[in-house]
């Protein structure tokens, strides 16, 4: 039986309560934080179960690895507390259902996973990927399912994720380079938290790109631009990879602007908030985030996640900032894409 590895004592003895103290949406001090997490751990009611907006950040804030957000999600599901409207939840569950419409490239032991992001089918090309492409996998059969923690549903993850692992394993794959941040997080953060074994090596595309850029350093023409980075929610689950953002920017001559909403204080794109909670919260978060980019002189907004780009790409563009995915930015740096194409 798949169950979350949670230790009640770690919460009881927590010196900081950082999971909730640092939360950008709740206003609690340490004592309340610890008390509420203990209540949640014990299956009691807590206002946190109603008010948490599912940004994932507490998974990063907790330095004790005790998975506060996964726990909140488990309890919500047990208690029938919805985050999103039923119809939205239902829709997302339907979207992720395997349909037999997956696509396989020339799959070798080392493979690029596009998850279920169709954008990657067009975006992943050129020199940066030529030593792995055309070895790729795409489709609901390879969809990591982590997104359902936004929808207070871990049952579906427990049901589907082992099958996804098996789908990959059956292809004889030994190493997967995940182009979607959340997919990487699924196999390196969520799976271990639930005791799901992963029989292949997981590589984040940040690391892959960084290494490839070093190999192709003679082709790099520094971009000399100022950019803001839009950190996705899933990055809270892959925070060990976050440093590669700055590393890559340094390699390709991008000045990552120092702004308020970055690092641990990053604001999510608000795409889920809009679906779950309506206009005001999403609008507020997006406005603060984008105003912050503008105030600090960003010329570009670099995206890690296509869903973020879909949610706010057009909004940053309206403020005169060019939205661009990290893949396109790297391809620009090695002269494979023009400025207009990358935007």
């Amino acid at each position: 039986m798949i169950a979350l590895k949670y230790d009640e004592n770690l919460c009881k003895t927590c010196p900081t309560g950082d999971c909730l103290v640092k939360c950008q949406y709740l206003d609690v001090e340490k004592k309340t934080a610890v008390a509420e997490m203990v209540k949640i751990g014990q299956g009691e009611d807590s206002f946190v179960l109603k008010e948490c907006v599912t940004c994932y950040a507490c998974e990063e804030y907790c330095k004790r690895g005790n998975h506060p957000f996964y726990l909140i999600t488990e309890r919500r599901e047990e208690k029938g507390i919805l985050t999103s409207p039923r119809a939205i939840t239902q829709q997302w569950i339907h979207i992720g259902e395997p349909q037999g419409k997956y696509r396989l490239g020339d799959v070798k032991e080392r493979v690029l996973s596009f998850g279920f992001m169709p954008e990657f089918l067009q975006w992943v090309k050129g020199k940066l990927f030529e030593d792995v492409m055309p070895s790729f996998i795409f489709g609901q059969e390879f969809f990591c399912n982590v997104v359902y923690i936004h929808f207070a549903n871990t049952s579906i993850i427990k049901e589907r994720l082992p099958k996804i692992v098996d789908n990959i394993r059956k292809l004889g794959v030994k190493e997967v380079i995940f182009i979607h941040d959340e997919c990487y997080a699924a196999f390196t953060h969520l799976a271990p938290a639930y005791g799901i074994e992963v029989p292949f090596k997981s590589v984040h595309y940040f690391e892959y790109l960084y290494n490839r850029l070093k190999e192709l350093k003679d082709s790099i023409n520094p971009l000399n631009i100022r950019a803001a980075y839009q950190r996705p929610c899933s990055s809270r689950l892959s925070s060990d990879q976050h440093h590669f953002v700055a590393d890559i920017m340094k390699l390709i001559g991008v000045d990552l602007v120092e702004r308020e909403y970055q690092g641990e204080n990053a604001l999510c794109c608000g795409g889920i908030y809009a679906m779950a909670f309506g206009y005001d919260l999403a609008h507020d978060v997006q406005k603060r985030n984008i105003d912050d980019m503008v105030e600090h002189g960003a010329q570009y907004c670099v995206f890690n996640c296509p869903a973020c780009q879909s949610a706010i790409g057009h909004k940053v563009a309206k403020k005169g900032i060019t939205p661009i995915h990290l893949i396109h930015l790297c391809r620009m740096a090695i002269g494979e894409m023009g400025e207009q194409e990358g935007g």
């Binding site: 409207p85 039923r86 119809a87 939205i88 979207i95 679906m275 309506g278 206009y279 869903a307 879909s310």
Partner: protein
């Protein structure tokens, strides 16, 4: 060539006359499920004078006359039930005059929706008309004549409410001006402040006269347009949601759809809300108002705004939406027909349940689709089924399903829109006898010889 044929060829020119088997075959049918009836002749006139001559000839010889737009009503309205002459109006497709400040345009009786849209975009970019989602080849006059609906229907009513004058050819061959244009050189009204005679022709399917010109009201065309989709699993709450949305008076158009495929649509009801604006500020304000109007449903988890995938938005924002036509090939069979009664919005839950019941009973692909009329004054609920034209059994099951829809619609207080001949008879049987009496009076007087699209609105 017989004498009639010869006369018709003299009127329109030989090149635009046919009594050949090929035209007889094609013009005997439409893409729907109604049985074919062959015309004796097909003519394509270029001006109202030619139509007058044709009508006079038909009157002398007692030959049925059936005007035709693009034949896309799908309910067989241009099928010549008693043979005769099909008048393909589409050669009369000029845009005659636009009055920008008064916001109206006068077009000929065969002008297509697409042509008018393209013309306005190029020449009058601040003006638009209420374009339906039928294919671009559909004609303005035919759409108006069947009380069609379009993108501006939620704001201004049926497309037939959005006209400001008509020119019609009567069964006698006389040309008649309907509306302000009967007294004034200006076409600003279809009736008021005079007695409104447009009702003698609108909704009659050509059974009282042939529309040769129509003045269409134009409306402001904003620079930006966007769509949001609010979804719910509770069909019983849809009427309340519509009530709140229409209260805002911020919305261009409201369409609702529910269908089992693709998977993203399964099990939910989707309210597509279109908004427009000249500035980001205006658009965002309208977006906020519409979102906030549905806030209580979001808070109760009964509904929410879905993320519209980037590939879906351009499809939804197209005018006309080509995806509506593509529904015809879901069964790889090029067929789709729907019965779309006009009915109170509060009946949405019953309609939504009925279509699922019928689709299961008859094993059919379906889409339940609705367009809100006015500020929720009514809706068109379309029970749409897709069929394979090469599968007679599927076609038969679809006919049966649609027959049950007709019965259900009437029982539930709906009124048939662009009624098939069968539906017309059902409506006549149920109609208030005094109302029927007026219809009889009109038909007797306007078509004493019974040559105007006979078989339709046979009230006599």
């Amino acid at each position: 060539m017989d004498d009639i044929a010869h006369s018709l060829a003299m009127i329109v020119g030989e090149a635009y006359f046919s009594n050949q088997p090929e035209e007889a075959y094609f013009y005997a049918r439409d893409p729907g499920l109604m049985p074919p009836h062959k015309p004796d002749y097909v003519v394509i006139p270029k001006c109202v004078e030619e139509i007058q001559e044709i009508v006079r000839l038909a009157g002398r010889e007692m030959i049925p006359l059936v005007p035709m737009g693009a034949g896309l009503a799908l309910t067989g309205l241009m099928i010549p039930l008693k043979g005769g002459i099909v008048i393909d109006m589409k050669r009369m497709n000029r845009i005659l005059k636009v009055n920008e400040k008064a916001r109206h345009v006068i077009v000929e009786g065969g002008t297509s929706q697409g042509l008018l849209k393209a013309y306005l975009e190029k020449n009058c970019p601040r003006l638009r008309h209420s374009i339906p989602d039928s294919p671009a080849a559909a004609t303005i006059a035919a759409n108006v004549m069947i009380h069609g609906q379009g993108r501006l229907t939620q704001q201004y009513g049926f497309n037939s409410d959005m006209i400001s004058g008509l020119e019609v050819v009567l069964a006698s061959g006389e040309v008649c001006k309907i509306g302000s244009c009967a007294v004034s050189p200006d076409w600003f009204s279809k009736g008021a402040p005079l007695p409104d005679l447009s009702g003698l022709f609108l909704g009659w399917f050509g059974a009282t006269g042939i529309i040769t010109k129509v003045a269409v009201k134009l409306y402001p065309r904003k620079k930006m347009r966007d769509v949001e989709i609010f979804i719910t699993d509770r069909e019983d709450l849809v009427p309340d949601m519509i009530y709140e949305l229409t209260h805002t008076e911020m919305v261009e158009d409201i369409n609702i759809f529910a269908q089992p495929k693709p998977m993203i649509f399964k099990d939910n009801h989707h309210i597509a809300i279109f908004i427009t604006g000249d500035t980001d500020e205006e658009l965002e304000f309208k977006r906020k108002m519409t979102w906030n109007s549905l806030d209580r449903f979001i808070k109760s988890k009964d509904g929410g705004f879905m993320g519209v995938p980037p590939v879906m938005k351009p499809t939804l924002l197209e005018m006309p939406q080509r995806s509506v036509s593509r529904f015809a090939d879901v069964k790889k069979g090029g067929g789709f027909e729907y019965s779309g009664p006009i009915i109170m919005v509060e009946k949405y839950p019953e309609c939504a349940r009925k279509i699922v019941e019928l689709a299961e009973k008859y094993d059919l692909g379906y889409s339940g689709m609705a367009r809100i009329i006015g500020r929720g004054h009514a809706m068109m609920y379309g029970f749409a089924f897709t069929f394979n034209r090469a599968d007679p059994d599927m076609m038969d099951r679809t006919r049966k399903a649609l027959r049950e829809v007709s019965e259900f619609a009437l029982e539930t207080g709906g009124v048939f829109w662009k009624a098939t001949v069968d539906e017309q008879q059902m409506a006549i049987e149920k109609m208030d006898p005094n109302t029927l009496g007026i219809m009889k009076m009109i038909k007797e007087n306007l078509d004493p010889n019974g040559i105007m699209n006979p078989g339709n609105w046979e009230v006599i």
